[in-house]
Symmetry: C2
Subunit: 139 residues, 2 copies
């Protein structure tokens, strides 16, 4: 049976995930893109080269991240976190986040890895300040 | 290297997928949820019990579906289709769509399967009339 997850249970799903689907709004149109991420202190961190996603988030900062865990067709959890987009501009914090992302996701594309290692400012480091999490599970 | 997919290539990814991430807008907030779907004549069909997703789509019909195919960390494709939400109310078409969904996804939850088999009107059958598809791939 499908059941709602409470806030703690939904956070467990989000923290355990490696990849989620970021939802944002681009000119009144929803836009969804898979991202790798880190969770720290109620914030979800990620990075990106500038592009459609970053433009959309800068214009309309409200966003969400959906994370799923699927053991099989009858046992799965899906959680979603909502929050406001914020860019990380502090050099020390940027470096720390990029380092953690690279440690966790060594498979990032060579271009991304290179830029991230060099701490190039072309790379946007951002977070969602989460203020709401919900989820459902079937078990 | 990452490259853009043309419209045909993006459709190939979408048609080959079994599960996608639907993006919609709920009270000016993005909302993302995984769905199973069918593609026919430039439309993406799915079904759902009434709830947050259907309420959001009825209020703000613009939506998208992101579909990913991942062979490994260095070979993947991601496509996204944008379109307007429309409910399928014709009884014959509803039955046909539900039957095809059940044939393709026998693992739908017992409740959903039961409702779908009985053609209960509680089940909302809907489509997105796609007018734009894009994608990226790494290979």
């Amino acid at each position: 049976m499908t059941k709602a997850l409470n806030e703690n249970e939904a956070w467990v799903v989000i923290k355990a995930g490696r990849m989620g689907h970021l939802g944002c709004i681009d000119h009144d149109e929803p836009y969804v893109v898979p991202i790798n991420y880190l969770v720290e202190d109620g914030r979800i961190y990620s990075h990106s080269l500038p592009g459609k996603k970053i433009s959309a988030l800068r214009h309309h900062p409200r966003a969400c991240l959906q994370v799923g865990q699927v053991q099989n067709d009858f046992h799965w959890q899906s959680a979603i976190a909502f929050g406001d987009y914020e860019e990380v501009n502090d050099a020390e914090k940027r470096t720390m986040v990029l380092r953690q992302l690279l440690e966790r996701y060594p498979e990032l594309t060579p271009v991304e890895s290179q830029l991230a290692r060099e701490g190039k400012w072309e790379v946007v480091v951002f977070c969602l300040r989460i203020d709401k999490v919900t989820g459902v599970a079937e078990d």
